[in-house]
């Protein structure tokens, strides 16, 4: 599915584009969303520019209700402040807005996501002798705890969707039912993982991630091969609706504006 090619009369799109579009659809017009940089930021701004014009986007740099015209490279690009309703100190952001329980959705990525949607952004390998030292938790451990619900997005591979994360940076569903509550949390935790192959949702009973929708053109084997545990499929397995022409256009325009803006020195 290369961008621009034609396939059976449909608008054509890349797996990454579908992933972003599918993630954007999980956001509602009345959401207040704590946005991570990269894929989450893309999805959130796509939602804002399509079906959720009133969605409130918050970046941990303190920018409240921001409407960037281009995607920020960092969590604190000038664009975010200039288009925000207001910009608050970082202490206030984490204490009043996140910890205060004012955020409906947190949107996270991760280097490893396991079958219970626990997220690792700290190390691959042993903490004290890491194979790869990753950037770390940043805002994620408390986004995972304090937002009413969490969305996750990641490219699907057996290195990323693993049976057990090497390090729990941010708690998903622990090792099953009751673990969030035992950790003192009352929030829902991860409700959806969007990859470039499918959608996964926690099983209501076991909390294990289950494939609930395959993206167009993806088959079960592809998902099984790319997943680090014996992944289950929902009884009623859906097919993700492809991106609409409008969604693709808005997303591509956003990327074009962004590339132009960041090319400058």
């Amino acid at each position: 599915m290369s961008k621009g090619s034609d396939e059976g009369g449909h608008v054509d799109f890349t797996p990454d584009e579908l992933m972003t579009v599918a993630a954007s659809r999980a956001l509602r017009n009345d959401d207040v969303c704590f946005v991570g940089i990269g894929a989450p930021s893309e999805a959130c701004n796509l939602a804002r520019l399509t079906h959720a014009p009133d969605i409130v986007l918050i970046y941990e740099s303190g920018t409240l209700q921001t409407r960037p015209d281009v995607l920020p490279l960092s969590i604190g690009d000038g664009e975010l402040c200039e288009t925000a309703l207001t910009t608050v100190p970082v202490v206030e952001m984490f204490q009043y807005w996140l910890q205060g329980g004012r955020i409906s959705k947190g949107f996270l990525g991760g280097a490893q996501i396991d079958r219970f949607a626990n997220i690792n952004t700290t190390v691959i390998g042993d903490y004290d002798a890491p194979k790869v030292r990753l950037p770390g938790g940043g805002g994620a451990p408390e986004i995972a705890g304090s937002c009413h619900e969490v969305l996750i997005t990641a490219r699907h591979s057996a290195r990323t969707l693993v049976d057990t994360v090497d390090f729990v940076t941010s708690l998903g569903h622990g090792s099953g039912p009751g673990d969030r509550e035992a950790a003192g949390l009352t929030t829902a935790g991860p409700v959806l993982v969007v990859t470039d192959l499918c959608l996964l949702e926690p099983d209501p009973e076991t909390r294990e991630l289950v494939v609930t929708s395959l993206h167009p053109g993806v088959d079960r084997d592809q998902v099984v091969t790319a997943t680090g545990w014996e992944v289950r499929f929902a009884d009623e397995l859906a097919t993700t609706p492809p991106p609409t022409a409008e969604e693709l256009q808005v997303l591509r325009d956003l990327h074009a504006r962004t590339e132009q803006a960041h090319a400058g020195g």
């Binding site: 960092s74 000038g78 204490q95």
Partner: protein, 276 residues
């Protein structure tokens, strides 16, 4: 009470080998000029505190100034890894780097507690996170009214806090605007403080009665450092050099290439900012 000094004198006077140093600026207003002066003056064994180490600490670490890093997110924002940080942690080059790792929420709370003269901060945090397991400075505290158990971290109390800001007036009062991060907390939590500014003006021209102003009597040194946050940015003055952030990935990936860059752009460069 703020004294106007050159950046060279400010670093010479207030930053000592072995100090705990916090250089803040959340993506915005990162005090690069001050960091480069610390590298030029070859400070060693620093404990560096910063929420997002960013390129500024990647450079200090690669230059061998740091012994320990207290942080919460150590990446090149939107680009990838900090290669000098990784080289220090994964392979001990140029020196091993001890890590004390927190979350943003905890770091912010620790600065808040430091500025507020408290020994520790309480937060709803780290629930179920392995960070608790690897960082002994994450403890618990019990609410005396409800019995709830919450996370606690020690307050940040750096020896020196360094921030960059838009401007100072002639009395040494400083205006910070835009993404204000934890700059105020950093100055107030620190025993000594250095503020670099884009310019000194007759009138701060604070736009609102509630503008973020650091009074002169809460600061030790004010040093002029035009474009002192580059490649970060200064709201109202210049934009973020996103292209340099992207280029840094290549520059910093290789030890020799990094050292060549450091030699050319930091060590043999003159100090930014003239005496007043």
């Amino acid at each position: 009470m703020a004294e106007f000094v050159s950046l060279r004198d400010a670093v010479a006077r207030y930053v000592h080998d072995g100090d705990t140093v916090a250089m803040e600026g959340f993506t915005h207003l990162i005090p690069f000029a001050a960091a480069h002066e610390i590298i030029r003056q070859r400070r060693r064994n620093l404990t560096l505190i910063r929420m997002t180490p960013d390129l500024v600490y990647d450079q200090l670490i690669g230059a061998g100034c740091a012994r320990k890093l207290v942080f919460s997110w150590g990446g090149n924002p939107g680009v990838g890894s900090l290669h000098r940080l990784r080289d220090a942690v994964e392979r001990g080059w140029p020196a091993p780097l001890e890590l004390e790792e927190h979350s943003h929420a905890a770091m912010a709370a620790a600065y808040h507690a430091g500025a507020a003269g408290l020994p520790f901060a309480t937060l709803r945090g780290y629930a179920g996170s392995d960070l608790r397991r690897v960082n002994p400075n994450i403890a618990s505290v019990t609410c005396p009214f409800t019995g709830e158990v919450l996370a606690a971290v020690p307050a940040h109390r750096p020896d020196v806090g360094i921030v960059h800001a838009q401007r100072a007036d002639r009395a040494g009062n400083v205006l910070v605007e835009g993404i204000v991060g934890v700059q105020k907390e950093t100055v107030l939590a620190s025993t000594r403080s250095i503020v670099t500014v884009e310019e000194i003006v007759d009138d701060l021209a604070a736009p609102s009665p509630n503008s973020v102003v650091l009074p002169a009597w809460a600061i030790d040194a004010v040093a002029v450092a035009p474009r002192g946050a580059t490649p970060s940015y200064a709201h109202g003055y210049y934009e973020r050099d996103n292209a340099f952030y992207i280029a840094w990935d290549e520059i910093s990936r290789d030890r020799e290439q990094f050292e060549a860059w450091l030699g050319e752009h930091v060590l043999s460069a003159g100090p930014t900012g003239a005496p007043v």
